[in-house]
């Protein structure tokens, strides 16, 4: 069975697409067959972050409406041959996605031997976000250490616990993880940004990764190369750790401590 993982947040602009791209690459790099689907109808962006925007011929809605086959719409990654992207439609018709349609695509991906299907959710709690999470086995809730993001994440946790197929089936429900991103250890040390334990305690679920605020993310999106492929960047390494944890490994968090300043820089400023 393929495992469906939704990357969601409630609040917009917190790093879902950045995260979806890097997790997909990270899992595929481990030899898994991975599809990453952009659910953000009307605001396609995953293709840019993955660097395949010029190869989009058919999209998710085309497949659902039977205008092409799934094989025709899946874009094979040029770097890793077990990785495929399914682009969002740029249509303005928000009803273009249907529950039955999404279910059919997921079933076909499963039959094609995909190990993981990542669903990059749009922001909000409307139809697109609801559909992105509905069939999920696991959820990665992306959160910034900031009040509105944390509050919105909790709304999403409520929906995951009630408005998903797994919740309706009444079993163990959707397995939930937090991924903290745009984390700034210096600001946490200064007391003007909430730390990992604050966010974890408030939301009450485990943290699968902490991604530092990093210049590497912009550089990576400029180039269309998911940041996890930049081994030199702290964010890239932190995403690689998160992927390892998703696969069941136990690793300590990195890049979460403020750089210790030397005695002289503390006394003389800097």
């Amino acid at each position: 069975m393929s495992e469906v993982i939704v990357v969601t947040s409630g609040k917009g602009g917190v790093g879902k697409t950045t995260t979806s791209a890097s997790l997909a690459v990270g899992l595929a790099r481990r030899g898994k067959k991975v599809a990453v689907i952009d659910f953000d109808v009307g605001l396609r962006n995953l293709d840019l972050i993955m660097g395949c925007e010029r190869r989009v011929v058919y999209d998710f809605v085309n497949v659902i409406q039977g205008e092409c086959t799934l094989k025709q719409a899946l874009i094979k990654d040029k770097r890793i041959d077990t990785l495929f992207v399914l682009a969002a439609s740029q249509t303005r018709d928000k009803d273009a996605l249907t529950k039955e349609g999404v279910e059919r695509v997921l079933k076909e991906l499963d039959e094609d031997g995909f190990d993981y299907v990542l669903c990059d959710s749009p922001a909000g709690i409307e139809k697109g976000a609801a559909l992105a999470m509905y069939f999920a086995d696991r959820a990665v809730v992306v959160v910034n250490p900031e009040v509105s993001s944390v509050r919105d994440s909790d709304r999403i946790l409520g929906l995951l616990a009630s408005k998903t197929r797994r919740a309706e089936q009444g079993g163990t429900g959707v397995e939930q993880h937090l991924l903290l991103t745009r984390y700034n250890p210096e600001r946490v040390a200064n007391g003007d940004m909430m730390g990992i334990t604050d966010v974890k305690d408030i939301l009450g679920i485990d943290v699968i990764g902490v991604i530092p605020e990093s210049e590497g993310v912009l550089t990576a999106s400029n180039a269309g190369v998911p940041v996890i492929l930049d081994d030199a960047s702290d964010a890239g390494q932190a995403y690689a750790d998160a992927v390892a944890r998703l696969c069941g490994e136990t690793l300590p968090m990195r890049f979460t401590e403020a750089q210790k300043k030397g005695f002289f820089s503390r006394i003389f400023g800097g």
Partner: protein
């Protein structure tokens, strides 16, 4: 950070203010959602109210009960606001108060 910053008192820690505000609002919204996992709380609250009313006549909203997290632990916080004068309890002190403060 320069020499003088070392001796200056820290500004108010805004991160802990944020965390505290979130704890409260998230808890409220979970209750409104029917989440929170402590579905015995309303019943327990009612029973505690009955016990207290054997001794003091308090209003239903005088009891505030909730569960907070402190690190790994959950803490049950219960607070009861007693009425200004527990007249109905008929205590001696009640009458003494009345005498000294005059009629309402």
């Amino acid at each position: 950070m320069g020499l003088f910053d070392l001796f200056r008192s820290r500004p108010k820690n805004t991160a802990s203010v944020a965390a505290e505000r979130l704890r409260i609002i998230v808890m409220q919204e979970r209750k409104a959602d029917g989440r929170g996992g402590h579905d015995y709380l309303p019943t327990m609250r009612r029973e505690i109210l009955e016990v207290i009313r054997k001794y003091v006549n308090v209003d239903a909203d005088a009891i505030d009960i909730h569960v907070t997290r402190e690190g790994e632990d959950e803490v049950l916080e219960l607070s009861v606001t007693l009425p200004e004068r527990d007249r109905d309890a008929g205590a001696e002190r009640g009458r003494a108060d009345e005498a000294s403060s005059g009629a309402d």
